[in-house]
Amino acid sequence: MSLIHIKDLTKHFKILNRREGLSGAFRDLFSGNYRTVEAVAGVSFDIEAGEIVGYIGPNGAGKSTTIKMMTGILKPTGGMLQVNGLMPYDNRIRQAQIMGVVFGQRTQLWWDLPVIESFKILKEIYKVDQKMFDRHMDMFNELVGLKALYSQQVRTLSLGQRMLCDISASFLHNPQVVFLDEPTIGLDISIKAKIRSVIKELNREHNTTIILTTHDLGDVEALCQRIIIIDKGKILYDGDIKRVNALFGAYRTLKLQIDDFTAATLQTLTGKLTEKFGAEHGISIAETEELWTDVTIDQARTPLSDVLNFVMSNFGVDDVRIVEISMENVVRKVYDGALK
């Protein structure tokens, strides 16, 4: 039996179609005009103990609805959902004992209290015995340098420090599964790296299952062996990270600001690039925002530097930026059959 077992899971929401104006607001009070939205439309997967799984997808894809069902906040509309053999919604308190949750930038520690007091309260809530508490606190201290923060009020911590404290706290009671929602959002590169290594260590220590939702493909790359991509309530891909990695790892987007940009410029650019690199060049071009042209390049086929040199010598370019492929683009590529 796997730790998390999900089969044909669905969740429907009834959404009120709000009417306009004051009288509309009044009528809404008495007679609702609802439509049903399928946030999760038949999802199945199994997660084994000790796995780190990246659960990704664009906004509104249904990933946080799935997480909320797994953590016992929402009741599934249909299908099967078991964590450690139990349905989370019906056994919230019991399930909370074996779970840890970190939700983005919202801390679950006690805002006005010193860090150490939050941990002491958690020790009482989860009935962690003194021996395990001491051992874990030592471990957190080694990994995060927690001791230096003990006497600081949570409200005075930096965002990165707070995240490290929140992640540590979610492991205090030795849970079987930890949900991490956007653990690196809004943090700078060095803290991101730190957080990733801490998560990896904590996973190794007790073989804790970790489910990670993120918009940062760097998180996924650094932590997960397996990735589940969800969009429009359905699973698009569930499997090894390596195939997906090859996909987004190879792509880079060259953002160009071209002199005297006209509608014809795009065509000229496409034409010239095909002329130079052949028909199978793996380059796609789109105008994104005012004056910016996106040239997405598959580096497996055409080196980025060649394209850049060619464009620079043939067009008047004002400004250049190189960006990694975005989550939305990965999902679009998967849609287009890139993993088939």
Partner: protein, 265 residues
């Protein structure tokens, strides 16, 4: 998972720390306590002014009103001290921070309310006790042990009524975006709990007895002590009213918590 003893212990640990942290803002505590003290006494001041012009208000003497008022101040204190976090619920619900209360192996109402402990409410409680004792001495009330027990029982029930009315109003936040006025109205109505209910007639007395049972916060239970030989049978229901109303409130709270889906993605 947790016994009642565990919860009490946990509450004690959390609140000791909370009070310690709040004590850094000592000036705030002193000023707020003074404010609390004045606002508690405002209605009493009104009684005093009015009863300077007339001998009694609907059959109640000034000192009897003082007794009811003392009872009222004690009865509203548990709400103020233990359930003050209800005022923040609309922010938590709107901003999605309410989610975190689902993640601990604790009763959610307990966990939510434990995050705040209103120290200044203790001032109100102390003032209420002093006023009640003063009035019962002036009224020459006879306190036997069973009557003290009855007083404690009715105070417990009355405070449950006050807690229920306020928490119910706060629960509106689970369904209505701008629920603050509901809570604001409940707060304003509270001021009328110490008034003798027999000044109202018809619909209003019915409302304050059966619909928004403010009468059970102070006036009805006080009659057991002020005129024990002449109380309506309704008064004997006051302990039941408190427990029943709180059970209803807990049910609505659970409904709200279960219907909440969180905001954002």
């Amino acid at each position: 998972m947790h016994s009642l003893k565990d919860y009490l212990r946990l509450y004690f640990i959390i609140e000791t720390q909370y009070i310690k942290a709040r004590m850094q803002y000592r000036a705030d505590f002193i000023i707020s306590s003074i404010g609390m003290f004045f606002s508690s006494l405002a209605t009493l001041g009104i009684f005093w002014v009015i009863l300077g012009s007339i001998p009694d208000l609907a059959g109640w003497s000034f000192m009897q009103l003082v007794f009811i008022y003392g009872f009222y101040m004690i009865a509203i204190s548990p709400m103020q001290i233990l359930f003050d976090h209800i005022w923040q619920i609309r922010f938590h619900v709107q901003q999605g921070t309410f989610l975190k209360y689902y993640f601990r192996p604790l009763n959610m109402m307990f966990y939510y309310m434990s995050e705040m402990f209103d120290i200044k409410g203790l001032t109100q409680l102390a003032a209420g006790i002093v006023i009640l004792i003063y009035a019962s001495i002036r009224l020459d009330l006879d306190w036997t042990l069973p009557r003290v027990a009855l007083l404690l029982l009715t105070l417990f029930s009355a405070s449950l009524v006050q807690i229920s009315i306020t928490v119910l109003a706060g629960c509106a936040a689970f369904w209505v975006l701008d629920a603050y006025p509901v809570l604001g109205l409940a707060w304003k109505l509270r001021e009328f709990a110490p008034y003798p209910m027999n000044i109202f007639d018809g619909a209003f007395r019915f409302t304050f007895t059966f619909i928004i049972p403010l009468g059970f916060v102070a006036f009805y239970p006080s009659q057991l002590f002020l005129q024990p030989e002449d109380v309506s049978s309704l008064v004997y229901f006051s302990p039941l009213v408190g427990v029943g109303l709180f059970a209803l409130t807990y049910w609505v709270w659970t409904k709200g918590v279960n219907s909440y889906t969180g905001t954002g993605s």
